[in-house]
C-alpha cells in the first residue's frame, strides 16, 4: 500500500489486553467518502481494531498498542496529539444505543459541542440539521424537549448518530450499530449510512453479511484462528463476496467456514 495522505489508514497495528495479544499487524487504507465494512467471526478483533482508530482503546485498563494510525497522513498516536481532538474529528457510534438519559433529545444532539468545547452560533438549526441527516427529524422534531430515554431503541441509535454528526466529524466509526435493532429500524439506519457516506468516511463493524453487502463499498475480513486477530483480506465489497482471493474469506462469506 502506498502512503495515503487522505482518509484514514493504519500501518502495522497491534493491540494487547494485558498479556493477551488481540490484534496483529493490521495495515489498511480507508479512502475518503467510502463505507468500509469490517467482517469476521466473533472474537476476531474487529471491534478492538475500531476502537484503536479513535483512541478509545486506551481507556481499557492494561491495554497496549503498537503501530500507527494515519489520519490525513498524520499519526494520531503522535506525542503532541490531543486525543480529545482526534475523537472530535473521528466520531463513534456504539453497539448499544447510549444517549445521555439525564438530557432531552435536543440536549443530546448538542451534548458533544459542550463536551468538546465547540462554539456554535445557532443551536436550533444545528439540531434540526443533524436530526434530519440522521433520518430522525420527522419523528422527533416536534418533541425535542422530551427525555431521550422516551425514544425506542432504533430512534435512540439514530439520535446517537445525530449526536456524533453535530461535531461535523470527517470519519464515523460504527460498532455493530444495528445489532440491538429490529429490521425496520435497521433499514432506516442503513439508509442513513448511505446518505452520510456522500461526504464522510465510514467504518462499520458488522457480523451480518447481508448488511455488509448492502451498505459497504469496501470490506475487510478479520480472523483470529486461535492466535491474535489478523486482517486476512480487504477489497471492494463486490470482489470480497464474488471472487475473494483467500479461501478462508470465501468460506466465511458463503457461511461454510471451517
Amino acid at each position: 500500500m502506498s502512503q495515503p495522505t487522505t482518509g484514514l489508514a493504519t500501518r502495522g497495528l497491534h493491540a494487547w489486553f494485558d498479556k493477551h495479544h488481540a490484534l496483529a499487524d493490521v495495515s489498511i487504507h480507508f479512502p475518503e467518502n467510502t463505507v468500509t465494512g469490517l467482517i469476521g467471526p466473533s472474537g476476531c478483533g474487529k471491534s478492538t481494531f475500531l476502537r484503536l482508530l479513535n483512541r478509545m482503546h486506551e481507556f481499557i485498563p492494561k491495554s497496549a498498542m503498537a503501530g500507527e494510525v494515519l489520519f490525513n497522513g498524520e499519526d494520531i498516536y503522535g506525542a503532541d496529539v490531543d486525543p480529545t481532538e482526534i475523537r472530535k474529528r473521528i466520531g463513534m457510534v456504539f453497539q448499544k444505543p447510549n444517549p445521555f438519559p439525564s438530557m432531552t433529545i435536543g440536549e443530546n444532539v448538542v451534548a458533544g459541542l459542550k463536551l468538546a468545547k465547540v462554539k456554535t452560533s445557532n443551536k436550533d438549526d444545528l439540531i434540526e440539521e443533524c436530526l434530519t441527516r440522521a433520518g430522525l427529524w420527522k419523528e422527533v422534531g416536534s418533541r425535542l424537549k422530551a427525555p431521550a430515554s422516551s425514544l425506542s431503541g432504533g430512534q435512540q441509535q439514530r439520535l446517537c448518530i445525530a449526536r456524533a454528526l453535530a461535531l461535523k466529524p470527517e470519519v464515523l466509526l460504527m460498532d455493530e450499530p444495528c445489532s440491538a435493532l429490529d429490521p425496520g429500524s435497521t433499514l432506516r439506519v442503513e439508509e442513513t449510512i448511505e446518505q452520510l457516506s456522500e461526504n464522510m468516511t465510514i467504518v462499520i463493524v458488522t457480523h451480518n453479511m447481508q448488511q455488509a453487502a448492502r451498505v459497504s463499498d469496501y470490506c475487510a475480513f478479520f480472523l483470529s484462528g486461535g492466535g491474535p486477530g489478523r486482517l486476512i483480506e480487504a477489497d471492494e465489497t463486490s470482489k470480497i463476496f464474488s471472487s475473494p482471493q483467500d479461501s478462508r474469506t470465501a468460506d466465511y462469506v458463503q457461511g461454510r467456514f471451517g
Binding site: 503532541d80 496529539v81 490531543d82 481532538e85
Partner: protein
C-alpha cells in the same frame, strides 16, 4: 493541544483531601512514646482491655452478620409498602448518639428494666455490666453499618440473574445462597469488616450499658478515654494498639477478599 488544566486542579485537591484523611493516623504514629511501648503494652490493664476488646468485637461482628445479611436481603428485595420506613429505622442507631442507645439498652435490660426484670426474676440473668452487655451494645451500633453496605450491594445486583436462576429450577434459598451471596460477596465481607471495626472502637453505648471495670468490662477505647487525663502517654500507646489492630485486620481482609469487588 495540551491536556486541560481542570484535571490538574482536581488531582491536587484530591491529594490534599487524602492527606487530610491520613493525618490522624500519621500523627498517632509520630507522637507515640516508642521507648515505653513494650512497657506499657505489657501492663495488665492493657492486656486485659485488649483481650476483652478482641473477644467481644469478634462475637459482635459474627452476630451482626447473622442478623444483618438476611435483613439486608429482605430490605433490598421487599416491595412491601413499609420497607422504606423499616430501612430508615434500621440505620438510626448509626446516627443516634451511642450513649443514648446505651441508656435505652440499660432501661430495657437492666436488672430493674422493663425486660431485664423478667430475665432476672425468672432465670437469674443480669445483663448489665457483663461482657454480654458489651456484645449487645456493639451489635446495636455496628449492625446499621453492615446493613447499609450489604443492602446497597444486594440492590445493585442484577435481578435478571436471580430470575434466570429461578427458571433453572433454583429455590429461593438456593438463589440467595448461590447467586445473591456470591454476587455481593465483596460488599458482605466489607460490611462485616466495617461492623467489626465499629465494634472494636465502640465506646459510648458499651460504657453506659456495661460500665468500665478494668479486667471485666473495660475495652480498649474505654481505657484510652479514661487514661487521657491521667496518663496521656499510656493512652497514646493504647490508641496505637487499637489503630494497628483495626487497620491491620481490615487490611488483611481487604487483600484477601475484597479485590473482587473492585472494578
Amino acid at each position: 493541544m495540551r491536556k486541560p488544566s481542570t484535571s490538574l486542579g482536581l488531582r491536587a485537591i484530591a491529594l490534599f483531601a487524602f492527606i487530610l484523611v491520613a493525618l490522624p493516623l500519621l500523627s498517632i504514629f509520630i507522637r507515640t512514646p516508642w521507648s515505653e511501648l513494650g512497657n506499657i503494652a505489657s501492663q495488665k490493664t492493657t492486656r486485659d482491655a485488649l483481650f476483652i476488646s478482641l473477644e467481644t468485637s469478634v462475637i459482635a461482628a459474627i452476630v451482626a452478620a447473622l442478623l444483618g445479611v438476611p435483613l439486608s436481603w429482605m430490605l433490598a428485595r421487599s416491595t412491601a409498602r413499609g420497607t422504606s420506613l423499616v430501612r430508615t429505622i434500621c440505620i438510626v442507631p448509626m446516627v443516634l448518639p451511642p450513649v443514648v442507645g446505651g441508656i435505652a439498652l440499660l432501661t430495657a435490660f437492666g436488672r430493674r428494666g422493663v425486660f431485664g426484670r423478667f430475665l432476672y426474676d425468672w432465670w437469674g440473668v443480669s445483663l448489665p455490666f457483663t461482657r454480654t452487655a458489651i456484645v449487645i451494645a456493639q451489635v446495636f451500633v455496628a449492625l446499621p453499618f453492615l446493613v447499609l453496605a450489604v443492602e446497597s450491594a444486594f440492590r445493585q445486583l442484577d435481578t435478571g440473574l436471580e430470575d434466570a436462576a429461578r427458571t433453572m429450577g433454583a429455590s429461593p434459598l438456593r438463589v440467595f445462597l448461590r447467586v445473591a451471596l456470591p454476587g455481593a460477596r465483596g460488599s458482605i465481607v466489607a460490611g462485616i469488616a466495617l461492623a467489626w471495626a465499629r465494634s472494636l472502637g465502640e465506646f459510648g453505648a458499651s460504657i453506659t450499658f456495661a460500665g468500665s471495670f478494668p479486667g471485666k468490662t473495660q475495652t480498649l477505647p474505654m481505657a484510652v478515654y479514661e487514661l487521657v487525663a491521667t496518663d496521656y502517654r499510656a493512652s497514646l500507646v493504647m490508641s496505637l494498639i487499637l489503630v494497628v489492630i483495626s487497620v491491620g485486620v481490615i487490611a488483611t481482609m481487604r487483600d484477601r477478599w475484597m479485590t473482587g469487588a473492585q472494578r
